[in-house]
């Protein structure tokens, strides 16, 4: 079922992806001076935000976006995420939210299937669900997600372009991701590989760093020793690791492409160690998520619209 979704969103994302530079600016504007907002809450609803874990900067930013909006709209958003990426724990967080008597839940599904059942239970109790970042296989009011597969593909295409610009048309390419059991990063992985289908490049077996930049760097260093022409990082940790490894190797010909944005990644790009990164807009997700929940609680039917909040390609040029 999730594939159908992908297909549907692809078009949207591509446009987003290409209008990268401008988009990035735009969204950042939105995040900062979101002084006025379109929606107002009829009642002071109690909402829960449940992300995959509460540590990645990505989730922290998403939460900040949500909290900021919550103030303006006049609702309470409780950040009830599990301490680590773990299906079981995320499900229990949903259960806790239900028991905690919330009116609506914003959730970033660890996997599309895992929490479906407990979400159905929640809906059965009249609780509204909205997806942020990663949807599950249950029809919700709305979902504001990155199309990770598409994002990965865009990353692949960026790397391919850069390599061909160097006149490189074949060689090995390394892939580092956080772990094999998080759907969103797996999708990016697949998308990235898709971009190279039919080319003479060979993509290495994916290696996992559990989000630890240091471990990612060690892996990247090994890739470099093996003589890869490019490395893709599926999340913030692995991207930083790759940047540092390329920096250390002193061989800037190796093309590093990453996912997510953080100050470290930005500086690595500016210094030219990374080609670019696929920046998502978590703060936007958080904001739109709150709005959507409030609207549907106010009684508006959002017809389960799925908005691809898009990935924007951050590179040296648009990071001024």
């Amino acid at each position: 079922t999730s594939d159908k979704q992908d297909a549907k969103d692809t078009t949207a994302a591509v446009t987003e992806g290409t209008t990268a530079a401008g988009e990035e600016k735009a969204t950042e504007e939105k995040a900062e001076n979101s002084g006025e907002t379109t929606v107002k809450a009829d009642k002071p609803y109690k909402l829960a935000l449940i992300t995959m874990d509460s540590l990645d900067q990505h989730w922290v930013t998403l939460n900040e976006g949500a909290q900021a909006e919550a103030k303006l709209v006049g609702v309470e958003v409780k950040f009830m995420s599990p301490d680590t990426k773990d299906d079981s724990k995320q499900i229990e967080c949903v259960n806790n939210a239900v028991a905690g008597g919330v009116d609506g839940i914003m959730i970033a599904a660890n996997g599309p299937d895992a929490i479906s059942a407990s979400l159905k239970e929640a809906q059965a109790q009249g609780i509204k669900i909205v997806y942020v970042d990663s949807p599950a296989n249950v029809d919700a009011e709305a979902s504001f997600a990155t199309n990770n597969k598409q994002g990965g593909k865009t990353a692949g295409e960026e790397m391919k372009k850069a390599l061909e610009a160097q006149g490189i048309t074949k060689g090995n390419i390394g892939v580092i991701s956080t772990n094999a059991s998080t759907q969103s990063t797996v999708d990016r992985d697949n998308g990235f590989r898709e971009a190279f289908e039919g080319s003479d490049f060979t993509i290495e077996e994916t290696q996992y760093c559990d989000g630890d930049a240091a471990k990612a760097q060690t892996i990247a260093e090994n890739y470099i020793t093996k003589g890869v022409v490019g490395i893709f990082g599926g999340n913030e940790g692995s991207t930083v690791g790759i940047g540092n490894a390329i920096k250390a190797s002193g061989d800037n010909k190796i093309v590093g492409v990453g996912f997510d944005k953080s100050d470290n990644i930005k500086s690595l790009i500016q210094d030219g160690y990374l080609l670019c990164t696929m920046a998502q807009n978590p703060d936007v997700m958080g904001k739109m998520g709150v709005d959507a929940l409030v609207e549907s609680l106010n009684g508006k039917d959002l017809k389960g619209e799925t908005v691809d909040t898009g990935v924007s390609v951050l590179n040296k040029d648009n990071l001024k």
Binding site: T84, K85, S88, D113, A114, A117, A180
Partner: protein, 335 residues
């Protein structure tokens, strides 16, 4: 009457169990005051359901700890069980068969642990550290480094629902099946530990291997059995996680071995062997879950959560240690 109380207090590990119970009540009330929803029926039902897996893990780990050993492979066996069960189901294997195969593989790991620790007398810490890696590796491989799809995808909705209700979503007498399963196993194993020959031998081996051997106890088979029990409990937890998520997650059960140790030790099971009660483990598991649940309900930061949990673990045992200060002396030699 007074003597009766004395009698009970002298049962090895009873004091620990009581300490844990007191701690439990305190924590529960404290959180309840911060967020009254903690006392809500729904939350307590959730509590019982979630603690079930820690109880099972704790039981397995307790058996191993009472013989003076440790089982680090628990978490991985949980993950392996969840993955094997799920990936078999998503390949259209009938539920029952899937469960049995998964159990079998789990028990094999347990058996290997038993062989390494019992027969070859490897340090348990390192032997089970090895099988921990192996079991996790299997969890990755069974479905080719991918989490499984929804089990219903092949089995069909109702079959899937049947399985998920049986282990997680169903209720009996208003309480979730998960709890009943754990509770049943708890009763059975409490009986085994307290009232059977095997149980007594487990305490004896934990207290003095050589003396037990000279008294005709087959220490190797006793140790093996404890590891099999531990593996069995882990597999059941694997089922539960699989039913809960309706799929297999390769990382499932991460760190559970530690939760097992925590549940046991908070409940007064001595990691040095020779003493402990499953009743204590029950309290320990419930305390641990109440803590996690409460911290989540009040929306505490991860950092805070970690610290609170750590402090509680230490305090729980420290209290117990300080209470039976007299016996401290004796521990020294064994430790």
């Amino acid at each position: 009457m007074k003597n009766k109380v004395k009698e009970i207090l002298r049962i090895r590990g009873m004091r620990g169990a009581i300490t844990a119970f007191v701690g439990l009540v305190i924590i529960y009330v404290v959180f309840g005051c911060i967020n009254d929803k903690v006392f809500s029926l729904q939350n307590n039902l959730n509590l019982l359901r979630s603690m079930a897996k820690y109880l099972l893990i704790g039981i397995g780990q307790s058996f191993v700890m009472i013989t003076g050993n440790i089982d680090l492979s628990i978490g991985s066996v949980v993950g392996m069980s969840a993955m094997v069960t799920a990936s078999l189901m998503t390949r259209g294997v009938p539920i029952m068969v899937a469960l049995l195969v998964s159990l079998l593989i789990g028990l094999i790991i347990g058996y290997v642990n038993g062989e390494l620790v019992g027969k070859f007398q490897m340090p348990p810490f390192i032997a089970t550290l090895g099988t921990m890696f192996v079991a996790r590796g299997i969890a990755y491989l069974v479905n080719g480094n991918r989490n499984t799809d929804n089990i219903a995808s092949i089995l069909g909705k109702d079959q899937g629902k049947l399985f998920q209700d049986a282990f997680y979503y169903g209720k009996i007498l208003g309480i979730y099946t998960t709890f009943w399963i754990a509770f049943l196993i708890f009763l059975i194993f409490s009986f085994i530990l307290g009232k059977t020959k095997l149980g007594r031998h487990i305490y004896a081996v934990g207290s003095n291997k050589e003396a037990s051997r000279l008294s005709g106890v087959d220490i190797v088979s006793v140790i093996k059995k404890t590891y099999l029990i531990s593996a069995f409990c882990s597999v059941i937890v694997g089922y539960i996680l699989c039913a809960q998520a309706g799929m297999g997650n390769m990382e499932a059960g991460n760190m559970y071995e530690m939760y097992g140790v925590a549940a046991g030790v908070i409940g007064g099971v001595s990691p040095l062997g020779g003493s402990g009660l499953l009743l204590g483990t029950f309290q320990g598991a419930l305390l641990w879950q109440t803590l996690e649940n409460g911290l989540n309900m009040v929306g505490a930061q991860v950092g805070i959560q970690r610290i609170v949990i750590g402090v509680i673990v230490v305090l729980a045992v420290l209290m117990d240690v300080l209470v039976r200060n007299g016996n401290l002396f004796s521990k020294k030699n064994k430790q």
